[in-house]
C-alpha cells in the first residue's frame, strides 16, 4: 500500500500486493498508478475521475478481474462501496483487459466532495466467466428440496463470474481491518494456526488483523454464512447459488455457453471438477482432502492443486474447504436461521466427499474449520 500526491489529488490508498513466484494470483491483483482528480465533462461540469492500472498479464474475457472501489470521507469512519449506479461507463466491476482504466463518478454528491477529504481503496480479484446456458444439475445424496430447485435435471443458468480461488485470509483481514471484527465477522476460532490463522492484535475497539506468516494465501475458514455474506457485500459480490456452484464445477453442456454452442463439454456428467478419475488414483492427489498424504494435513494455499480445476478454470472446488452457497436447504419458513447448503469437499473429507454432486447443510450462524466461501458477480444480461 502506498500514498501519493496528497496535495493535488487528496489521499489515495493504493493496493500493491506483490505475488510470490510460483504462486497463483491468489490475493488481490496488483493495481498501480492510482489517481483521483477532477475533470470537466462535455457539459463543462466538474466530475471526479479515478484512474488506475491493472498489471496482470493474464486477463481475458473468460478470466477477467473484478474491480471494486471503497471510499471514505476523512474523519468519517464509515467506508462505502462505490456502486455501479454512481459511476458512468465501465471502469469498475468486470474488467477483461490489463492496463489503464478510468472510473467517472456521476453521483452528484460525490462530485461535490473536496478531494483532500477523500480516501479511496481499490482492489481487484481474479474471476472466471461462466457462460449462460443449460447444464445437468444432478440430485445429491442426502440432499433435498431447496430454494431454487425441486428436483434434479436440466437447468438454465445465466452468465455469471465466480472467484477463481476461495477467499483468502489476506483478503478477509483487509475486510476486518476496515469494518472491524464484530462478533458476526470475527471468531476466536479464526486464530487457530492450522485451520485458519488470523492474528488479532491491539485492544478493543481498535483491533487490527493480519494473516499469520505463511498463511496469507490459505482460504479463510471458521466463517459463518453471515460472515461470508458480509465480506461479499463489502466487495459488491454475493454467494453463488447451488446451481451456479455446480455448473462452475462440472460445466454446462457447452463450455462456451448456449449463445454460440461451439465447444461441447466433453464430460457434462463428470463426477469431479477435473473429470472422472478418483481423487487419489495412481498416487496423484488431485485436491486437498483428508489426511496429509496430499501434502497438507489442514488447508493448503489456494490454487496449490493444479488438477483441482474445473473445465472453466476455477480452482479448489473439490478440496481445501467446503463452500457456502446462497441457497436454503428447505425453504424460507425457517427464517434467516434456516439451513443453508454447502458444496464441495474439504481438507477433512474422504475422497468420496470431494465430488461435484454431494451436498451438505449447516445453519448459517455456525462456522466450521472446513468451510470457506467464494464470491460471484452478475454477468451480462442474456436478453
Amino acid at each position: 500500500m502506498k500514498i501519493t500526491n496528497m496535495n493535488r489529488f487528496g489521499l489515495f490508498w493504493l493496493m500493491v500486493i506483490l505475488l510470490s513466484p510460483g504462486l497463483s494470483y491468489a490475493q488481490w491483483i496488483e493495481i498501480d498508478d492510482l489517481h483521483v482528480e477532477r475533470e470537466k465533462n462535455a457539459s463543462n461540469e466538474n466530475q471526479v475521475v479515478i484512474r488506475y492500472s491493472i498489471k496482470s498479464s493474464s486477463l481475458s474475457e473468460n478470466n477477467p478481474a473484478y474491480v471494486f472501489v471503497r471510499y471514505c470521507l476523512k474523519g468519517d469512519k464509515e467506508w462505502n462501496l462505490l456502486k455501479k449506479d454512481q459511476i458512468a461507463g465501465n471502469g469498475l466491476g468486470i474488467i477483461s483487459k490489463a492496463g489503464s482504466h478510468k472510473v467517472t463518478i456521476k453521483d452528484l454528491d460525490l462530485n461535490q466532495i473536496d478531494l483532500s477529504n477523500l480516501e479511496i481503496s481499490i482492489r481487484a480479484m481474479e474471476v472466471v466467466r461462466i457462460p449462460g446456458g443449460e447444464f445437468e444439475l444432478r440430485a445429491v445424496p442426502g440432499g433435498g428440496h431447496h430454494e431454487t430447485l425441486t428436483e434434479a435435471g436440466t437447468r438454465m443458468v445465466s452468465t455469471f463470474y465466480i472467484s477463481k480461488y476461495e477467499t483468502t485470509l489476506s483478503m478477509y483481514t483487509d475486510f476486518l481491518n476496515e469494518v472491524g471484527g464484530s462478533r458476526e465477522r470475527w471468531s476466536p476460532a479464526m486464530s487457530h494456526q492450522n485451520t485458519c490463522g488470523i492474528l488479532r492484535t491491539g485492544t478493543a475497539p481498535h483491533f487490527s488483523y493480519q494473516a499469520m506468516a505463511g498463511r496469507e494465501n490459505h482460504p479463510v475458514t471458521s466463517v459463518s454464512w453471515f460472515s461470508a455474506k458480509a465480506f461479499l457485500n463489502w466487495c459488491g459480490l454475493r454467494l453463488p447459488s447451488e446451481a451456479e456452484w455446480e455448473k462452475a464445477t462440472v460445466g454446462g453442456l457447452y463450455l462456451d455457453g448456449d449463445k454460440t454452442k461451439k465447444i461441447q463439454n466433453p464430460l457434462p456428467d463428470r463426477t469431479y471438477a477435473w473429470g472422472n478419475q478418483d481423487p487419489n488414483t495412481g498416487s496423484i492427489f488431485r485436491c486437498n482432502m483428508d489426511g496429509d498424504d496430499d501434502g497438507y494435513a489442514y488447508t493448503a494455499p489456494v490454487g496449490s492443486f493444479p488438477l483441482d480445476k474445473s473445465p472453466y478454470g476455477v480452482y479448489d472446488l473439490a478440496g481445501n474447504v467446503a463452500e457456502w452457497t446462497l441457497d436454503f436447504y428447505t425453504n424460507r419458513f425457517l427464517g434467516d436461521n434456516g439451513y443453508r447448503i454447502l458444496r464441495g469437499g474439504s481438507w477433512v473429507a474422504f475422497p468420496e466427499g470431494v465430488d461435484g454432486i454431494s451436498q451438505a447443510t449447516s445453519q448459517p450462524f455456525k462456522a466450521s474449520t472446513m468451510v470457506g466461501f467464494r464470491g460471484v458477480a452478475e454477468g451480462e444480461s442474456e436478453h
Partner: protein, 442 residues
C-alpha cells in the same frame, strides 16, 4: 465382517462387556466418557457438537455408511479436541470396541431400535434420537434390552431436559393446574415438497463409498434414489408429523405420568401434497384415558406456522401461542400453554389472568448433559427408554387407527395390543429385512 455373523459376535461381545468392572462399579465417575456417534446427517453432526461442548467427553468414533458425510463432524472433533476420531462405516466396529462407553444413534428412524438393542447387548449406554421406534414391538424390545443389560438409554426429545420445561413440570406436579381433564397438542409444520423417484424407477447408480444396503437396513431395499423421499414413506421414516409428535407426546407423558390410554381414534390423510407420499399431511386424533382425553391435531401444510422456531432459541419471549407447536393442559384450576424449541410456558387462571410462566431456551445441551450425568451416576435420565416407549406408544396406536381407516381402537396396555382387531395389531410390529430383524428375545 459379514452382516450375517453379527448377531453371534454381538452376543460374545456383550457377555464380556457387561461383566466389565469399570461399568459395574461405576468408575466412569471421574474419567472421560468415550462416545461413538452413529449416523452423521444433520442431527448426528449437531449432536457431535453438543457432546463436544460437554467436559470430560471424548468422541472416539464417527460411524456413517455414506463416506461423503464424515467431514463436518470430523472437523468439529478436530476443532474441539484436537484429535482425529476413528471413522468407520460399519457400526460393529464401534460396538465391538470395549473402550467405547456410550453411543449416539442418530441414523434414520428405521435403525433406532435395532442399534439400541445391539448397543445394550454390547454394554454401551445409548442416546437414541426420536422417534425411538417404528413399531410398538420395537419399543418394547428396546426397553427389555436396556433393562436386561442395565444400560442408561436416553431418548432424544430434548425439550424434556430444558429448564423451562422442568419448571413447568414442577408447576404441574405441585397441583397448580388442579385436575387435568384435557390435553391438546398441536403441530403445525411448514410444507416441504419432497422430490420423489419416478414411478417404476430402477434407481440411480449408488455413489461410491455409500453402503446403500445397510442404509436401508431393516426397511425394504429400495432402488437408490437421492434426496429425502424416504421422509414420506411409512416403511422408512413415517413422516414429518410423526417425527414431531414424538416430542410432544414425551412432554405430555411427563406431565401426566404413566397412565395408559384406553382407546384411540385417528382421522387424516394426504390432502395437501400431490406426490407419492404414503404418510399423512394431516392427522387428527382423540385418545381416551380413564379420566381425561388427549386431542391431537397435526399438519404439515400449514401456512400458520410462520414464526420460525429458531427465532425463539435465545431470546426472552413466548412462542406465538396461536401459531407454534405447543401443548395445552386444561385443568380444573388453570390452563397451561407450553411450546417447544424454547418457546416458554404460561399459566392462565380461570379468570384469564397469566399467573405463572417462564421464558425458555432449547433443551439440546441440557439433555445431552443429563445423559452424560446418568452415564456416570447410573441414575435414570430425564427421558429414559421406558418413559419414551410409553409416550411413543401413543404415536404408534394413533398411526394404527389412521391406517385401518380411522377405526376407533380399544387398547390393552397390559398386552400392548388392540382388543379384537387383528388388522390393527399387525401394524404394531413389522417384518424387518434379514438379517436386520428385531429379536424376540434380547
Amino acid at each position: 465382517m459379514e452382516r450375517r455373523t453379527f448377531l453371534n459376535n454381538t452376543a460374545a461381545i456383550s457377555s464380556a462387556t457387561i461383566l466389565s468392572p469399570e461399568i459395574v462399579f461405576g468408575s466412569k465417575a471421574n474419567s472421560a466418557i468415550r462416545v461413538g456417534i452413529i449416523g452423521l446427517g444433520n442431527r448426528g453432526t449437531e449432536l457431535t457438537g453438543y457432546f463436544l461442548e460437554q467436559p470430560e467427553v471424548e468422541i472416539t468414533y464417527l460411524c456413517e455408511v455414506n463416506r461423503s458425510r464424515f467431514a463436518k463432524a470430523t472437523a468439529l472433533v478436530q476443532e474441539k479436541r484436537g484429535k482425529m476420531p476413528k471413522r468407520v462405516a460399519d457400526f460393529h466396529e464401534v460396538l465391538q470396541d470395549d473402550s467405547v462407553d456410550a453411543v449416539v444413534i442418530a441414523t434414520g428412524m428405521r435403525w433406532h431400535a435395532l442399534l439400541t438393542i445391539y448397543a445394550c447387548q454390547a454394554g454401551k449406554d445409548v442416546y437414541v434420537e426420536k422417534p425411538m421406534s417404528m413399531t410398538l414391538f420395537e419399543g418394547r424390545k428396546m426397553v427389555e434390552a436396556a433393562q436386561k443389560y442395565n444400560r442408561v438409554v436416553q431418548v432424544g426429545s430434548q425439550t424434556n431436559s430444558a429448564a423451562y420445561f422442568l419448571d413447568a413440570l414442577n408447576y404441574v406436579k405441585s397441583g397448580g393446574l388442579g385436575e387435568i381433564s384435557l390435553v391438546r397438542s398441536q403441530i403445525m409444520e411448514r410444507p416441504i415438497e419432497v422430490p420423489q423417484p419416478p414411478e417404476n424407477s430402477q434407481g440411480k447408480p449408488i455413489p461410491k463409498g455409500f453402503d446403500w444396503d445397510t442404509w436401508c437396513g431393516p426397511s425394504p431395499l429400495a432402488p437408490y434414489w437421492p434426496g429425502p423421499w424416504w421422509w414420506t414413506k411409512w416403511d422408512y421414516n413415517q413422516g414429518t408429523i410423526n417425527d414431531h409428535v414424538a416430542h410432544q407426546m414425551a412432554m405430555i407423558h411427563s406431565f401426566l405420568g404413566p397412565e395408559p390410554p384406553k382407546s384411540v381414534f385417528c382421522s387424516g390423510g394426504v390432502f395437501y401434497f400431490e406426490d407419492q407420499r404414503d404418510v399423512p399431511d394431516s392427522q387428527y386424533a382423540v385418545f381416551d384415558f380413564e379420566n381425561r382425553h388427549i386431542v391431537f391435531q397435526g399438519s404439515n401444510w400449514s401456512t400458520y406456522m410462520k414464526t420460525p422456531f429458531h427465532t425463539l432459541d435465545n431470546v426472552d419471549g413466548y412462542g406465538n401461542w396461536v401459531r407454534c407447536n405447543r401443548v395445552e393442559l386444561l385443568g380444573t384450576e388453570a390452563m397451561m400453554l407450553i411450546g417447544r424449541h424454547g418457546a416458554g410456558w404460561q399459566v392462565y387462571s380461570n379468570d384469564d389472568e397469566p399467573i405463572a410462566g417462564g421464558f425458555g431456551r432449547r433443551g439440546d445441551q441440557p439433555h445431552v448433559a443429563n445423559f452424560l450425568d446418568c452415564v456416570r451416576t447410573r441414575e435414570r435420565p430425564n427421558l429414559g427408554v421406558e418413559e419414551a416407549h410409553e409416550a411413543t406408544t401413543l404415536c404408534h396406536i394413533m398411526n394404527a387407527s389412521l391406517r385401518v381407516g380411522g377405526r376407533k381402537l380399544q387398547f390393552d396396555a397390559a398386552t400392548e395390543s388392540f382388543v379384537n382387531d387383528e388388522e390393527a395389531n399387525q401394524l404394531l410390529r413389522r417384518e424387518g429385512r434379514a438379517p436386520w430383524l428385531i429379536p424376540e428375545s434380547v
